[in-house]
Structures are given as structure tokens and as C-alpha cells.
Amino acid sequence: MANKLIGQNYTTPDLVAKVTGKAKYAEDYRVDGMLFCKLLTSPMPHARVKRLDTSKALAMPGVKAILTADDMPGAAAGATLGENVQSTAQAERGLTNEPLYQGEPILAIAATSELEAAEAVEAIDIEFEALPFVVDPIEALRPGSANARTQGNVWVRPPAPAGGRGASGDAARGRGAAPPSPPPPQVTVWKWTEADFANAKEGELPLGKFSDEWSFGNVDDGLKKADLVLDETFMTQSTGHQPLETRTAMAYWQNGKCYLHGSTQSTVQTVASFARWAGIQPNQVVMISEYTGGGFGSKIPGSIFMAIPALLSKKANAPVMMRITREEEHFIGRARPGVIARVKAGFTKDGRITAIDMYAICDNGPYDAQGDARTAGTTISLAYQPQAMRWRGLTVLTNTPPKVSQRAPGGMQGVGIMEPILSKAARRLGIDQVEIRKINAPSGKAPFGPTLPNGKQAYVTSAFVKEALDKGRELFKWDEKKAAFSGKRQGTKARGIGVAVSPFAGGSIGFDALFIIKPDGRIQIQSGIGNLGTHSLFDVHRIVAEMLDVPWEQCDVVFGNTAKNLPWTCVSAGSQTAHAMTRAAHAASTSAIKKLQEIAAKSRGGNPEAYKVAGGKVSGPGGSMTFAQAAQKAIELGGTYDGHEVPEELNNFTKTSAKALAGQGLMGVAKDTYPRDGQSQSYVVGFAAVEVDTETGAVKVLDYTAIGDVGRILNPRGLKGQLFGGSMLGLGHAMTQRWAYDQHYGLALARRFHHNRPPTILDAPTNFIGDAVDLADPETPTGIRGVGEPPVGAAYGAIMNAIADAIGDDAFKRSPVTADILLTSLENGGKRTHETLTAHI
């Protein structure tokens, strides 16, 4: 593949619409007769609707329809909601009569104005019966404590089948490699004993019984032979995704089809999940989402609440706009589960990790089981390549907003839990921080995760972490800064530096691509990728222009509306897209080139292989043909050339689209069937320099450098943007973002941005460097992997390490590391005084 487009900067074709305000997000659509809907949400963390009388509200002026839980389709076990979401019988249904968290929607009212809808909601006669609740995962394990659901307090999964990673986020690792679905997990009552709690020292995670376990190697031996063993407990916080666009949706029905204007990360993949949530057939769904104001994992296949305007619209026989407020978004907008972990890690005196024994609790929220605690373990096993590792975990239900994958789900938490331990070990052993990471870095086909039934571990496609560490060390001026800053003070300011290694899944396989070379010579590329801001919607299709050797300006990308005949596409999540869809684009381009060659050979004579596609033409011994001519010829030839016949292995979704588009030109369509040895993982190493004000506890990030090992660079500005944005999310977790719950009532106190504190532009590092090693992944034809997730953990770990470097290893055992935590530790001789095991404070 040439390098005219790949690795070059360009302007995405949607940018003018965005910068002029013409780009339409879900709330920007208007339809004649549009009603507005407001939600009645639960005032309690766990309750049952005891009495509900809607008659007064229904009689109010302007009120058109009321939707209650009875109108929602039931949740079925084992149903797959899009690629990433597996349903259980205990899954949420959008509206409920037994709310499991404060803010969970109970009913919705559509009226001609929002004010009327609001007043009708207030006029609803409803009474709740308060049920026992728990908002703290450790509290939920105490003997005699309340359970978040009437059925129990812990998700218990059957043992993970071959291939290991049962976590929902792990599906991102590739369809080809995905294990068969395990039987659905069950909610049961699971408590630790008083003795378990008594045996743990203050601030230590008690080691009661755990339901989940995996391992490789001999952990006990590893710890025994270690020269240094550290035993640390750390709490990572739960945080809302808080995309700037809330999950507003508008729906109407036309000719038996539901037109849904929603906010989703993935266009094509949302059809099935939405259909499932709304209880309709996928072919009844037209999903329109041209622009999405961020998702970060919270809108992977849209949102279950999209079913509300859809069903209300049907009931009211009018379009319904459901504007979601920021406060509602706090509750229904999904969150990253906090993970509380205890890690015992053994080190040789040379810094090699002999063994890791990890115990992890996932603060799961009330609904579907999240794999973050488990992924935290596998991430650690990959990033630091311990010689042996055992992971034990519990997925604990709490009456807090539902959790779901958030940018680097589990990966970020794993890095944050392990990095401070590694830093402490390096300081104890007198080894340079970069060195100890290189000593333990993954390389080549690095193994990770549990021992599989075949006696081996899974392994990655490639890893160039040492190269990334070297590059970062140089660009960050690590050695220079180490001499100047590390642990040094001037006046009241202490400085420190830190480095962290963060891997995460970097791509899936097996999807389809579809484009048409039109008789006017333009290339119309059909895309099912969501436009959520990653630019991958356009980036990946530049492969087509690159391979067909046409100017990018000659391509038109069709996206954002599933009525427009789109191919089967991966979810726009988990850093999959750049990898998966460049492979598919590569396959489709290859098929188009072959067709061009064949058409040229047919038209001009000679052997197809003798024809070359270049400069917008296909040329060979018999002369050349323009793409326009070839497209015209393809239509004449029909069959595979214009899409009337398509490869059998294509997904049905793609087949339907191809059928609709057949006859319009030369069709490039293919499924990615390229082989792949190993699982695609991307890596980012982060380097941070911070300054801690020892009199206030305030922290400033001075410099930050992120270096990716993310395959070939696809779009340099996009790469840098992903590195910076992901790093800022990590910075937010390290320094500012939090939840707060009143434990007595189980109610959220932090509901606003200034409570939850997503970082601002002035919290950003003063100097930022973002770059990548630009080494191709050997297991994908394009050499490209995803980049979205791993920067998060890198910054999270590196910034916390830098703070510890400035003021000591034992100053904090939870994040965010805020001024109060640091100041009280400094007052206490560098030892933490804060609570470690209480969540949401």
C-alpha cells in the first residue's frame, strides 16, 4: 500500500457542517406535530411502585399519552443487544415498577409542550414503597447488609469458557476469536463473614470468598521466591461517561417503520439493539444518527431509553422528542464501575515481577454484569508480564446508576491499581522507573490472561512497548527531568515524574465493507460507522482511495442513516474500528481492483493481472480505462461486477444493502477474512511531570507525553487528538472526577458538572507531546490498530506515579487524588489518613 493518504493529515468532510452549526444532532431535528416527553424518575435508590394513578395527568391539557413499564417489552435471557450487550432476564427495560437506582425512569408522558409534560408528571399520583438498598460495594458484602436487588447482591458467572475473557468489553477482541457465549450469570446472595472483615487491617481489602477466578503459573511459588513482596489495596472510583450531548432521542412512525433520531456511537449496530429494546423487528427500524456528541462507551449501541420516544410516539400517533437533561443523564447516562483491588506482587531484586495475586471487586451497579474487574486483571497480566498470576473477583451489585464500558473499561482501572505498586517497587529496589517497565514489558507475541484448556495462554498480535518507552523517554526528556525534579522541592512546591504502561484491545475482525465506483467516476463509500468524533468514520475509508489510487476528494462517504444501505460494521467502540474497518476496506478494495482488472481485460484484452490500477485508471497491455468507463462496463456486465451477485460470506445486513445498490456501478464489497494470529492489542506509554503544592495539596500537571504503539499511523492529527483526549480522561480520573452518594438515603449528591468535575482546559497539562512508534501490526494487512482506549490508563497511572514521586508512595490509596487527600497525608508524615474502602465520597 502506498502512503499518499495513510499517515497524512486531511480535513474530514463533515467539518464545515460542524463548524457552521448545520450539523444535526438528535435534538436538532424538528418534525411537524412533534410532542415533547418528560420522565418520572425514581426518587429512591430501590423501591417498588405501590400505587400509580395516571388519570389526573392524562386529563391535563396538552397531554397525549403516558407510557409505563407495562408497555415495555420484557427482558429475555441470552438475547444479544447489538454486538456488545448481552441481555439477562434481570436486564433493564427502560421503564420499571421496581426502580433499582435513583433516577431510574418509571414512566413517560408526551404532551404538546415540555411545560405541560412536566406539569403532568408532577400531577401523577404515585406512591413508592422503599426497599432495602446499598450504594457501597464493600458494605454490600457485610454480613446482614442490604442487597441491591431482591434476588441478591452479586453476579455469579459460571466458569469462563475457553478463550477466557467473559467480560462484555472483551468482545471487542475479535469475533473470530470470541468464545461461545457462556450461560447467563445469576444474581445471588453472597456475603463475607465478620471474621473476613476482622482479619483485614484498616484500609486493606478483606479477603472473603470470591466467585470468579483464573490463573496461570504458580503464584505461591512466585511470591515465595520474590525478593520483595508488596501488598496494596487501591480504590478506583466510579465515574459517569458524561458525553456533552445527553441521550436525547426523537422518534416517529411512517409506513410501519420507526424513524429514530438518536445519539449513538454505532450506526448499524444500533438497529438490532434498538429493535430489541423497543420490541420491534430490525427491519422496522430506520436509525438516523449523523452526528453524536460523544459517547465514550455509554452509547455503544445507542441507549435503551431510545425505546421510550419510539413507543410513546406509537401510542400518541405523533412524533415524540425526549430531551434528556444533564441531571437525568447523570442517572441514566451510564458509568464506569469503580474497582477496589488488593494486589500482592513479588519482585526479584532486578525488578522482574515473579507473581501477582490479585483480588478485585467491581462496583457493578444494579444491572448487567460488567467485566471491568476481570479485564483489570488481564490488562495487568499483559502490561507487566508477571511470571505467574492469579486473579479473583466479585461483581457486586449496588443501587447506583448502571455501569457499562467506559473508554478502556477495566484496562484503565488495572493500570491505575498496578502502576503505583510497580513504582513503589522500583523505588524500593533502586531501579529506574522506565527501566523496570522495560524489564517487565510485553514484546512480540506476548502472552496474557489465564491458562486456556490447551495449556497455553492467549497472546497478542504484536507489542512494541519497549520501543515506545524508549521513544517517550527521549521526547519527554525523562533522564533530564529525573535529575531536576524527582522528589525534589523548591519552596512549598514538590515535583515528581511518573511513567505508566497501558495496553488495551486494539481491534476486531470479520466485518464487511461496501462501495461503488459510479459511472461519473466518483466513489461512493457506504459506511455503517458512527460519527462520534473519532474521525474513524472517514479515516478508515481512506484505505479505499489509497488502494484505488484516487484523490480523497473523489470519494463520497454515505453515513448516519440505516435506510441508506450500509454494510455490516463493528460497533464504534473499544478501539475496534480503525483495525476492523480498514481490514474490511482493504478486502473490498482488493475485490474492486480485481473487478477493475477483469473488466479492463474483458474490454481491452489481455490478462487481468497485467492491468494496474493507478491514477484513477486501470491500465495495462490493451490500454487504459477510466473508472467511469469501468463503472459503466460493470453495470453492463452485471453479476458480481455491479453487485447483483455478492460473496456468500457477507453478513445478511450487507447483502440486503448490496442488493439495494446493485446496478449503480462497480461494486467493491467484501468481508474481512484475513487471518490473524493473536489478539490485537494497542499500547500507550505515558510520562507525566507534576508539581504538588505542599501547603494546599493542589496538583498541576506540567508536562505530559503519550507514545502509542498502535500500529501504523492512520491520521496523525486524529492520533494526537485521541492521545490527548484519552490522556485527559485519565487525568480526570487521577485528579478530579468523582461521584458522591449519601449513604443513609442512597441518593446522589454530585449531579452537576461542578460536582463531578470533568477536567477543564486549564486543568490540562501545560506541555503535551503525543506521538507513536508507527510500527505496523504484522497481523493485519493495513498494519493499523486502534488508539482510543489505552491513553486513558497511561495518563491515569503516570500522573498518580508522578504525584507519588513528588510526595511519597503512601500518600494516597484511592483516586481521584485531590488536594484534601494530599494535604492531610502531608500533615500526617506522608501517610494517608483517608478512607480506602468507602466508595463515592
Partner: protein, 338 residues
């Protein structure tokens, strides 16, 4: 009870053009009327539907309430003067740099463009129980939810809590108290002048209000006397985020030197109690002392005597102590030169 947000209940809006008209309207409608200055605090209450006034009196059209005027070496600042105008005004910068610094650290640029100095000093507390609509003392109920064994009260008071543990969130308030400002208040009975220090009231006095404004009252201007013009000022605000955040603790001080020593001093700390806390004892104790580390240490320790921390706000003691030290020093205490 349904929690509906961001749909403002209907009200009748008045936009008087003069203070007299405004006062008349307020007199007429009393407690049924809500006064809208910059509106940033009020909008929250309206959008949360926790306040549903019948009448809203918007002051934005009253020109006489806006502007900075020179008053014999001091300044009179119209209550409706936006913070940005205060920050940029050359006389504020020349004479009362303390107020400029404080105003510049308020929230965000857009808020400073809209929020007024009168609104900033008079804003309600940000206790998240109270603002979340919990029926606490301040809201007319009979308990404080922030002062319980399990409450999350990291941002709450360490001094003078009287049932309610909310704190004053304003950045300009401590500066104005330090500058010995006077609040000019109008109502239908006439005008009264209240020293800034007495403008703010604690929960013991009135648990439902943060200041002496009663229904019908209108804060029209803030007068800063020449007394502390050009003094040596120190202002610092410690917050979790560098934009749009209320102070964990802030400090405002003014020192008139006497040779190398502190001649006289005004020292006020915000966000540690329901009112800006003026440290008179410390002011007296440091008078005549040199501005050195020893004085700073003494002042810092003295400042936090009698503080009563809650479960999660113990850090405010060392924080306040250290900020007092810095105010005495006049600096953060050295920074990296490299």
C-alpha cells in the same frame, strides 16, 4: 414527588428601568418576588423548580445600578456591574487589586461576563444537600443532612456551624470584607448602609438566609472606602478544578506596612463558615510584627483555633492555616525557577 429539571415554571416578569420602580415592585410583591441580577444563582433555583416565584423582577434594564464610580479615593460599584467589568476597571486594579484578583477567579469567563458583583456576594450557599432540594433547616425543614455520621461534607464548614454547616461560596465576599466595604441597600422605607462584615449572617442568626437582605430589599451598590486603597494585598483560592469551581478555602488580606513590619492588617477567609470569616484576633496579634515565617506560623496556628471539622473536611484546617501563612508572607512560599 416527581423531580423535574430544566423546565422553568411560568412566572410574571418585570423589567423596571429605575431603582425606584424596582423598589416599588419589590415592596408590592414582597416574598412572592424573586430578584434577578445576573441570574446565574437564580436560574438554578428556577430550573430545579425548587423556587417557583409568582413574580420575577429583572434588574438588567436599570442603568444606574451598573458601573464603577470614583468616590474620594474609594470606589462605588453598582451592584449590577458584571464581574468582568470589575476585573477590567483601571481604578479597581489601581486601588483594590485584591478585589480584581478575587473577581477574576470566579467561575468562568462567561459567568464573569454575566454575573454581577452584587449577585456574587449575595449568592446562596452551594451545600449540595440544600441545593439538591433536600428539606434541610435552610430550606425550612428541621435537620441538617450534611452534618451526620455518614454525610459527605468535604466542602462544608469548620467554624460557627449552628445546626447548618453550609459555607459562603463567594470569592469576592472575603475581598470586600477585607477592604471594609459597605453595602448600600434600598427598600421602600429608604436607604441603609451595612458594613460588609455585617451584611453576611450565619445560621444561628438566620438559618434560611446568607445575608441581611429581606424581602423588599435591594442591594444597589457596594462602596469601598479609601482606607485600604493601595495596601499590600494577598488573595488565593484553592479549588479542585481551575475553572467553574467554588473555593475549598479562599483568603483575602490587606496589609499596611509599618517600616519592615506589619502596620495593620485585614484578614478574611472564605468557605470555612457560613459567612466570610474575619480573623480579628490574628489581625491584632500580627500588628507590629515582621512579615516573616515565624509570624506566619503563629498567625496560621491562631487562625484555626476553635475549628470543628466534620468527617470529611478536616483538611480545611491545615489548608486555612497555610493560606493564612501565605497571606502573612505575601507569597505562596517560593516556586520553581527552572
Amino acid at each position: 414527588m416527581a423531580v423535574i429539571r430544566d423546565v422553568i415554571a411560568a412566572f410574571e416578569l418585570f423589567q423596571p428601568a429605575t431603582v425606584d420602580d424596582a423598589v416599588r415592585l419589590l415592596d408590592q410583591h414582597g416574598a412572592d418576588a424573586l430578584v434577578l441580577a445576573g441570574g446565574l444563582d437564580s436560574m438554578d433555583w428556577l430550573k430545579d423548580r425548587l423556587k417557583r416565584p409568582r413574580y420575577v423582577v429583572d434588574l438588567s434594564q436599570i442603568k444606574e445600578l451598573r458601573g464603577v464610580r470614583d468616590v474620594v479615593g474609594g470606589l462605588e460599584i453598582g451592584a449590577m456591574t458584571p464581574l468582568t467589568e470589575v476585573v477590567r476597571h483601571p481604578l479597581v486594579k489601581d486601588r483594590f487589586g485584591l478585589l480584581m484578583q478575587a473577581a477574576e477567579l470566579v467561575a468562568s469567563p462567561q459567568i464573569r461576563n454575566q454575573g454581577t458583583i452584587g449577585g456574587n456576594v449575595s449568592q446562596d450557599t452551594r451545600c449540595w444537600y440544600y441545593r439538591g432540594g433536600w428539606n434541610c433547616y435552610r430550606a425550612g425543614g428541621n435537620t441538617c443532612y450534611a452534618d451526620t455520621p455518614t454525610a459527605i461534607n468535604r466542602e462544608h464548614a469548620i467554624f460557627d456551624a449552628d445546626r447548618c454547616v453550609a459555607v459562603s461560596p463567594s470569592d469576592t465576599a472575603p475581598a470586600l470584607v477585607a477592604l471594609d466595604a459597605q453595602m448600600i441597600i434600598r427598600n421602600s422605607r429608604g436607604e441603609r448602609v451595612v458594613p460588609a462584615e455585617e451584611y453576611f449572617v450565619g445560621p444561628g442568626i438566620d438559618i434560611t438566609r446568607m445575608n441581611t437582605l429581606r424581602p423588599g430589599d435591594l442591594l444597589t451598590a457596594i462602596r469601598i472606602p479609601a482606607t485600604w486603597a493601595g495596601a499590600q494585598f494577598y488573595f488565593e483560592k484553592v479549588r479542585d478544578r481551575q475553572v467553574w469551581d467554588f473555593p475549598l478555602v479562599n483568603i483575602a488580606s490587606a496589609i499596611k506596612p509599618d517600616g519592615g513590619n506589619i502596620g495593620s492588617m485585614r484578614l478574611v477567609v472564605g468557605a470555612v463558615s457560613c459567612v466570610p470569616r474575619r480573623l480579628k484576633d490574628v489581625e491584632t496579634a500580627v500588628a507590629g510584627k515582621p512579615r516573616n515565617e515565624e509570624t506566619a506560623k503563629m498567625a496560621g496556628e491562631m487562625a484555626i483555633q476553635g475549628a470543628q471539622p466534620l468527617r470529611y473536611n478536616g483538611y480545611k484546617l491545615p489548608l486555612m492555616r497555610n493560606l493564612v501563612k501565605r497571606a502573612i508572607r505575601g507569597s505562596e512560599g517560593g516556586s520553581w525557577t527552572s
